[in-house]
């Protein structure tokens, strides 16, 4: 089939960026959206042009690397499907696909369809874990968790961190992402001791990153390739409110969002490198 791909090209953060249209004459209906981009890129390289930069890795819908907007919908028209598993048979011959990156202040542009999602890592670092160092664990069956509870935790834990929820939200809020991790850990008995502080810290970091506020629109859950449910946001809000009261004396610390891709510690030679 024939398709036109109208793709956002941007050389870097300082470039304004623009759409460029590419005509594809021989798209196989069985190929994935990313394989379609592979075919385009091969032809661009052969013509001496720069290929379209896009993120991808596992191509099985689980690593969360890939993702872009297709005709204004994160990951395209098929529900519960990432672009790596979206086959071209879901498009019509002759169709034009407008392809552009996630757009959010907290996801600075890197190049073409690639954006910087390290803000998600910083939200997790603020408290998205259970503080148990290696070696401290009791026997696995010493902590009983009912099947229903475990299933609900798993539903929330299925988040792949792709960022579609943020891209879908008119406010560019990351409430679904943050809520999913808070819900996963908060539902389980292992996560209970840190429940209040965790919500306070993660929400504070989410705000520091420049994500917008949640106004319960629900576009996020509709766009989520793992169908994370809106109730995780309710869980986050509950934990946050309770934490705000019970931990009102707790000092909430956030880290400054880092947007440059400079080389880590900047130290060419580490001063601690000798013993």
């Amino acid at each position: 089939m024939k398709l036109t791909l109208k793709i956002w090209r941007q050389t870097g953060r300082k470039d304004k960026g623009r759409f460029v249209s590419y005509a594809m004459d021989d798209v196989n209906a069985e190929m994935s959206m990313l394989e379609c981009l592979d075919v385009l890129n091969e032809s661009l390289i052969e013509r001496g042009e720069e290929p379209v930069a896009f993120e991808h890795d596992c191509r099985e819908g689980i690593c969360g690397s890939c993702g872009f907007m297709i005709n204004g919908i994160p990951h395209g028209p098929l529900p519960a499907t990432t672009v790596c598993q979206l086959t071209m048979r879901h498009f019509k011959d002759g169709e034009e696909l407008v392809i552009e990156p996630w757009r959010a202040a907290a996801f600075p542009a890197v190049k073409d369809l690639v954006v910087d999602r390290r803000s998600f890592d910083r939200i997790i670092a603020a408290g998205g874990y259970i503080s148990v160092s290696t070696g401290n664990a009791p026997d696995g069956n010493a902590i009983l968790v009912s099947k229903d509870t475990s299933d609900r935790a798993m539903d929330a834990a299925a988040c792949i961190g792709c960022g579609a929820c943020v891209a879908a939200c008119p406010n560019a809020s990351s409430a679904l992402f943050t809520g999913a991790k808070i819900a996963h850990l908060s539902i389980l008995p292992q996560g209970a001791p840190e429940r209040d502080g965790r919500a306070l810290n993660m929400v504070a970091q989410m705000n520091a990153e420049g994500f917008g506020g949640c106004t319960n629109i629900g576009e996020c859950t509709g766009a989520c390739p793992k169908e994370i449910q809106l109730e995780v946001i309710a869980t986050m809000n509950r934990d946050f409110i309770r934490g705000s009261w019970k931990r009102r004396d707790q000092e909430v610390r956030t880290v400054k969002p880092m947007t440059e891709w400079s080389t880590g510690s900047k130290l060419k030679i580490d001063p601690h490198a000798t013993s």
Binding site: L44, E50, H56, K111, S133, S150, A158, G264, A273, T274
Partner: protein
């Protein structure tokens, strides 16, 4: 060169405990003075970084992806083994050890495997405490299933996303250390060379993948946890970014590469559909617990599966292996699928496929139960193939999945370069010639959480390491090598894309060094790979610049290394003139077509040393001794 594997003496049951006691410790106040580089953030690297950070070391963790959570461990579906014996069905540490040595076709090191089985039980405890939502019974206890050729139920799982949940556990522990300031995370930073000073690993050269900046990082020890090299075949179940570059460049700096020809072909993947195909999608092996594998009895039978009556179907695994049936180990299941397709009985448009049929299981258990067990896998299959596996049988075919070979390590997981440690799939040590299902996650976490934190301390406590200056000749030499390779790749400006070379290499490897191998084929492959490699360095085109996000350049460096590794794999496969596990030499089979080992001549680890471009690598043998599990012909009949 003689290899000292540092295998402890005495009873195997006490070997690890004794070793741990004998290891020297680093004083808690001194730990922060030691910098440790960990390359890779999957189960092994993530777990190691988190744990070393918790202990107080100064850790720098590198990954080429945008976040440590993307590491390919995340894609593991089926589960993780542990000898908990929660099901009271006769499991034990010894049985897991025994099964793993036997499953590896007696080509692994007994002491390492025993330690792995011993540690397995602690892994589950740790992961539960981290909040990994393992599947549960109604009463709240952990549930298990039987998996990939095991006759006990010892596999723990979180739906079909066990790897994801375990990795997120390790990733969260890692981020906790980032927050605590003990771990510095360098995402989108790819290791391109190892710095070796006075014979010891002292750092890496890495490229920032966004800016293209080349930097050096100095440390007291370097840990590689960079995964396997299945992408040498181009098409595999590995993530697109998975590569051998870190391991290969360490190899070129003196680390021996062990058993490179041992690759695992996974029997249950979605068949190839066209030339544009970029990767193969795995369907979890757990499907074989309830699915029945068959092909038509007659060659060239083009009828739809539902039109083929029971009497004209050949459930070939159940027929040939009545006691294990559809649950035979991966290598056996894969070879049998290839055999029936070679006979012309394969199904699907390409004829390279067999049916995996759930009709009986649905009749027996109901669609709801099957949906609960495999729902996400069935959905994924339908998304990709547009066929509903609740109604028509799945079509599956074997694909490259895992590489048992890797950098040679001793019992401490140290390579032949002191101070360079190798964990997880990147090392060679625990799976012999064939890995059992649900054992990769176990090994990655065992190495990362419970082995390296002990053994690296001993190295640091017993080695006096001097200060490294930036002006050091070895540092400058490593940076120069990296810069030279990059500018060369960018300057060739030939006519062929990197992917086109990669695809061609993959075809050679799959044809001659894949599911079955012959001396003649391997020799042919070696010649073809050399020609292809020469052509690559004349004719490849890499657009763009070095000082930019340049995905073509990233791939170009990785494919250059695959073109060298491919040859070594063929050399190793040729040298190993026997069949064992995933390495099937057609010349060596039993009358009924099973792999025939030659223990008298090949009961060793083949560790290869790099001797410069174009020179034949040097083979060093580490003899394998089996004191506990006596080598026998594997039989799953």
């Amino acid at each position: 060169m003689a290899l000292d594997s540092r295998i402890p003496t005495g009873p195997i049951e006490q070997a690890w405990e004794k070793t741990k006691f004998d290891l020297k410790l680093v004083n808690p106040a001194n730990k922060r003075k030691h910098t440790i580089i960990v390359v890779g953030s999957g189960l092994a690297g993530g777990a190691a970084s988190a744990t070393l950070g918790e202990l107080g070391y100064n850790v720098k963790c590198f990954c080429f992806q945008d976040s440590p959570r993307r590491a390919h461990s995340i894609a593991a579906q089926g589960g993780i083994n542990a000898a908990k014996n929660y099901q009271n069905d006769g499991d034990s540490i010894y049985r897991l050890f025994y099964d793993t040595v036997k499953g590896g076709d007696f080509r692994s090191r007994e002491a390492n495997v025993y330690r792995l089985a011993e540690i397995s039980v602690k892994i589950i405890d740790q992961c539960v405490a981290q909040g990994v939502p393992f599947a549960r019974e109604y009463g709240g206890s952990l549930t298990n299933r039987s998996f990939g050729g095991a006759q006990v139920s010892r596999t723990f799982y979180a739906r079909g996303q066990t790897g994801q949940q375990l990795l997120l556990g390790a990733y969260q522990a890692l981020e906790r250390q980032v927050n605590a300031g003990t771990v510095e995370m360098l995402a989108r930073t790819e290791m391109l060379d190892l710095i070796v000073i006075d014979g010891k690993a002292r750092g890496i050269v890495a490229r920032n993948l966004v800016t293209g900046e080349i930097s050096t990082y100095i440390a007291d020890a370097v840990v590689l946890a960079t995964g396997g090299y299945g992408n040498v075949y181009y098409l595999s179940t590995n993530a697109k970014g998975s590569n051998v570059t870190a391991s290969w460049r360490a190899h070129k700096r003196g680390a021996l590469f062990a058993n490179p020809c041992y690759t695992q072909i996974h029997p249950t993947c979605i068949p190839v559909s066209g030339d544009y195909q970029s990767k193969l999608t795995l369907m979890s092996e757990s499907l074989r617990n309830d699915g029945r594998i068959w092909v038509p009895m007659n060659k060239g039978d083009k009828r739809k599966p539902e039109q083929i009556p029971e009497a004209e179907r050949d459930y070939y695994l159940e027929r040939r292996y009545p006691s294990f049936g559809n649950l035979v180990p991966r290598d056996v299941a894969s070879r049998n699928a290839k055999a029936v397709c070679d006979e012309g009985r394969g199904v699907g448009p390409s004829g390279l496929g067999v049916y995996l049929d759930f009709a009986d299981a649905i009749r027996r258990l109901g669609e709801q139960t099957i949906r609960e067990r495999y729902g996400n896998l069935f959905d994924m299959y339908e998304r990709i193939t547009d066929e509903n596996p609740y109604k028509v049988p799945m079509r599956i075919y074997p694909a490259i999945h895992y590489t048992m070979g890797g950098l040679w390590v001793d019992y401490h997981l140290q390579s032949t370069i002191p101070g360079l440690f190798v964990l997880g799939e990147a090392n060679f040590s625990d799976h012999g010639a064939n890995r059992l299902g649900a054992s990769a996650l176990m090994q990655g976490l065992s190495d990362g959480y419970f082995v390296i934190p002990y053994t690296i301390g001993n190295y640091l406590a017993t080695n006096k390491l001097g200060k490294v200056e930036e002006s050091n000749a070895e540092v400058r030499n490593a940076v120069a090598c990296v810069n030279e390779t990059i500018s060369k790749l960018l300057s060739i400006k030939g006519k062929r894309t990197v992917d086109s070379f990669h695809r061609e290499l993959g075809k050679i490897m799959w044809e001659y060094c894949g599911m079955s191998r012959t001396a003649e084929g391997l020799q042919k492959a070696i010649g073809q790979i050399r020609e292809l490699r020469d052509d690559y360095w004349q004719n490849v085109t890499v657009p763009g610049a070095g000082a930019d996000l340049n995905q073509s350049l990233e791939k170009a460096g990785r494919v250059a290394d695959f073109l060298e590794l491919g040859e070594l794999m063929c050399i190793d496969a040729l040298e190993r003139n026997e069949s064992c596990g995933g390495h099937f030499r057609e010349e060596h089979q039993t009358p009924d077509g099973e792999a025939k080992r030659d223990d008298e001549h090949f009961s060793y680890v083949a560790a290869w040393g790099y001797r410069g471009p174009g020179n034949r690598p040097e083979l060093t043998k580490e003899p394998l001794e089996f004191e506990y599990v006596h080598p026998s012909q594997r039989s799953y009949k």
